[in-house]
Subunit: 368 residues, 2 copies
C-alpha cells in the first residue's frame, strides 16, 4: 500500500508565541494537542496523516537541538535516527538541503515531501491523494509544490500563481507573490488563479540538491561536506560547521522563487495552519452552544468559548482533578497550563504576543 521511495521531511523547528501559554520555548506549537488533533500533538497528527503513503522509516524530522528530546517523545514510533538536530536556526533552506542530501545517500531519485509539522488537514485521504499527485509530478524531475485553494482573502500568507495545466491536476507555477494587501487578496481569491503557499514541497532528492547548487552554490558546497561525513565520527562536527557558516534563508526565497520550472498541485483538504487560538476554536469540535471545552467543564449560560486544559495532569486523565467553570461569558479563550492561565476574548488572539513581551520585560523568561 505504501508508495515506493517516498520520503517525508517534517520541519519542526518552529517556536511561535501565538499559542502562549500552551506554546513555550521547549514546548512549541507542533508538540501541542491543538484543535482537532487532540489528544495527539500536531506533529503526531502530521505523521499519522502520512500513513499508507510514507513508511515510518522514511520519515525525517528536522528540529532544533534543544527540541529533539521533546519531539522524539511525541513520535515514539519513529526510528532513533529519524531526528535531524539543527545546531542553530537557519531558516528552511539549510535543513531541507541537509535532509535532501541524506536521502540522496540512500537513493538520489527518491521523492521527498517536505511538510510543516504544525498544520491541520481535515481530509487525510484527499491530502494523501494530492501528495501522491505531487510525487508523480516530482518524479518527472520537476520540483513541485502543493498550493492550498483559498477560502478567504487571507493577507497573512504568501500566494502562488497557477500557470497552465501541465497534466491532470498539475499546473506550472507562474510565480510566487508575497503577503498581499486586503484588496489584492480579494482579487486573488476571486480570480481563482492563486493558491496559498503552505510550505509543502515535493521533489526528487537529486533535483533539490541540483537546484541548491544552482541558486545557493556556497550552501551546496558545504552540504557536500556534510554528506561526505555522514556515518563517520566527523559527522557531528561537519553539521555544526555547516549550520554555523551557512546562510540563513528560506527555501522559498533561496530556491523556489529562482527556479524557472516548478509545478504546483492545487489542494483542497480542509487545510489550516492553526495560526491562533481563534483558529483552534474554529477547528475544534463544539457543543450546541459553540463551546469547545474539555469534558467536565461547567458551562452556565456560556457560548462560543474555547477552554483548553493543558496541565500535565489533565492530559493523563481526561476528567482531571480540576473543575473549570465558565458562567455568563461569550467568545472567550481560557487556557490553563501548569504554570499559567490566559483569559482573553477569542478575537484578541493576536495579542497574546503582548503577554509574552511583558513576561520578557519583567524578567519572567521562564514563562515564555
Amino acid at each position: 500500500m505504501t508508495e515506493k521511495n517516498i520520503f517525508a521531511v517534517i520541519l519542526a523547528g518552529g517556536s511561535g508565541t501565538r499559542f502562549w501559554p500552551a506554546s513555550r520555548r521547549l514546548r512549541p506549537k507542533q508538540l501541542l494537542p491543538l484543535g482537532p488533533s487532540a489528544p495527539r500533538s500536531l506533529i503526531g497528527a502530521t505523521v499519522e496523516r502520512l500513513a499508507g503513503l510514507v513508511d515510518e522509516q522514511s520519515i525525517l524530522v528536522a528540529t532544533g537541538k534543544h527540541l529533539v528530546e521533546g519531539t522524539r517523545a511525541e513520535l515514539p514510533s519513529l526510528p532513533h535516527d529519524a531526528f535531524l538536530a539543527e545546531p542553530c536556526a537557519k531558516n528552511t533552506a539549510p535543513c531541507i538541503g541537509w535532509a535532501a542530501a541524506l536521502v540522496a545517500l540512500k537513493d538520489p531519485l527518491a521523492v521527498v515531501c517536505v511538510l510543516p509539522s504544525d498544520q491541520h488537514a481535515q481530509d487525510a485521504v484527499e491530502f494523501r491523494r494530492i501528495v501522491a499527485l505531487a510525487a508523480e509530478s516530482a518524479r518527472q524531475g520537476i520540483i513541485t509544490t502543493i498550493g492550498i485553494v483559498p477560502s478567504r482573502p487571507e493577507t497573512g500568507y504568501g500566494y502562488i500563481k497557477k500557470g497552465k495545466v501541465s497534466r491532470s491536476g498539475v499546473h506550472d507555477v507562474a510565480g510566487f507573490v508575497e503577503k498581499p494587501s486586503r484588496e489584492i487578496a480579494e482579487r486573488y481569491l476571486n480570480s481563482g488563479e492563486y493558491l496559498w503557499n503552505a510550505g509543502i514541497f515535493v521533489f526528487r532528492a537529486c533535483d533539490m540538491l541540483s537546484a541548491i547548487e544552482k541558486h545557493l552554490p556556497e550552501m551546496s558546497a558545504s552540504l557536500k561536506l556534510v554528506a561526505a561525513a555522514h556515518g563517520t565520527s566527523k559527522e557531528s562536527a561537519a553539521v555544526d560547521e555547516f549550520f554555523q557558516s551557512t546562510q540563513s534563508i528560506s527555501i522559498d526565497y533561496g530556491v523556489m522563487e529562482k527556479e524557472k520550472q516548478l509545478n504546483v498541485v492545487p489542494g483542497e483538504f480542509g487545510w489550516s495552519d492553526l495560526g491562533s487560538w481563534e483558529s483552534a476554536w474554529e477547528l475544534s469540535p463544539k457543543d450546541e452552544a459553540g463551546n469547545s471545552a474539555p469534558r467536565g467543564t461547567i458551562l452556565v449560560d456560556a457560548a462560543n468559548n474555547i477552554v483548553e486544559d493543558l496541565r500535565s495532569q489533565s492530559t493523563q486523565e481526561p476528567m482531571s482533578k480540576k473543575v473549570i467553570a465558565l458562567v455568563g461569558v461569550e467568545g472567550l479563550c481560557v487556557v490553563e497550563t501548569d504554570d499559567a492561565l490566559l483569559v482573553m476574548p477569542r478575537d484578541r488572539a493576536q495579542d497574546v504576543r503582548e503577554v509574552v513581551a511583558e513576561l520578557k520585560n519583567t524578567d519572567r523568561i521562564d514563562f515564555t
Copy 2:
C-alpha cells in the same frame, strides 16, 4: 486599654457557596482572605478588629465541629478552649445561648458582643467606638443591637426601625422587618429611620439567658443542663444532647423580635457583609484601570476585573509560580484555586450557586 468584662462571641458556622471556588464545605467564607482583609482571613480580621476592646482570652468562636481545626489554624493566638464546636447546625439562637451560658459561669453580668465572622469594617476605630457604646447600653440591662446606616436600597438584608433616642447615640428599637421589596427599600433608605440588621448583638450574659428563658423556655432548660455539665466528664455528651434536641432557630426570630425592650446603636464604619465576588471587587484595592489582581498578574488592555489566586502555593509566596494573564477583557471575575477555576462577569456573581448545583448534580461533591 481593654474594657473590663467584654466578651466576644464570633459566629463562624456559615458555609455559603457564593464564593465558590474559594469557599468550600471545609473552607467556608470566613476562613478566606477576601477583599481588603487579605492576606488575613475574614475571621482573622474580625478578631484583629476587636484589639483593645476585647481581650483574646475573652473571645469565643462558635463553629461547626468539622470546621474547628481549620478555624483554629486561622486564629493561632486564641486559647485552645476558645472554640465551641457545634455538633450540628441549629441556626444562631442555640449557639448564642450556649456561649452566654458559658460566659455567665464566669460572670453573669459580663457584657457579650456577638459578631458574625465574615464581615468587613473599613473603620476599625469607629467600629470599636460603636461596640463600646452598645456595651454601655447593654450594661443597663437592655439587649442592644448595632444597626448599619444604609447606603443603598438593599433588598437582601433585614431592617431595624429606629425608635426614639434613649441616650446619646442609642435608640429604642421600634421593630424588625424582613427583607423588603425594592420599592420599600427605597422608602426605608430615604426615611432615615431604618438600619440594616447586621447580626451584631451586645448584651449582658444574664440578660440573654433571661430572654431565652422567657421566649424559648425549652431551649433554656436544656442550656441549664449544658452549663451544669461544664468542666465535667459529661460536658461533651450534654452539648451533643442539647444540639440534637434543641430547636433550630435564629436569635432574631427566637428572641429579638419577641423582646419588648431593645436598643439599637446606628453604626457607620464602612461595613460590608462581603456577599459576593462583586463586593469583594468593590472593597479591594485596585489599579488605575480598576483591576484588583495579585502582583505579577499580566493585564493587557484589561479593566475592572477581579483576579483571585487562592492556590495554596500562592498564599505562601506572593509572586508565585503561575502567571495569570488577562488580555482585552473587562469586568470579569477570575478565581483560581488548587482544584478549580472560575471565569464569569462580575455582575453574574450571584450565579456562582448554579455552578455548585451543577457539581452536585454531576457527583462532584468534593469540589463544593
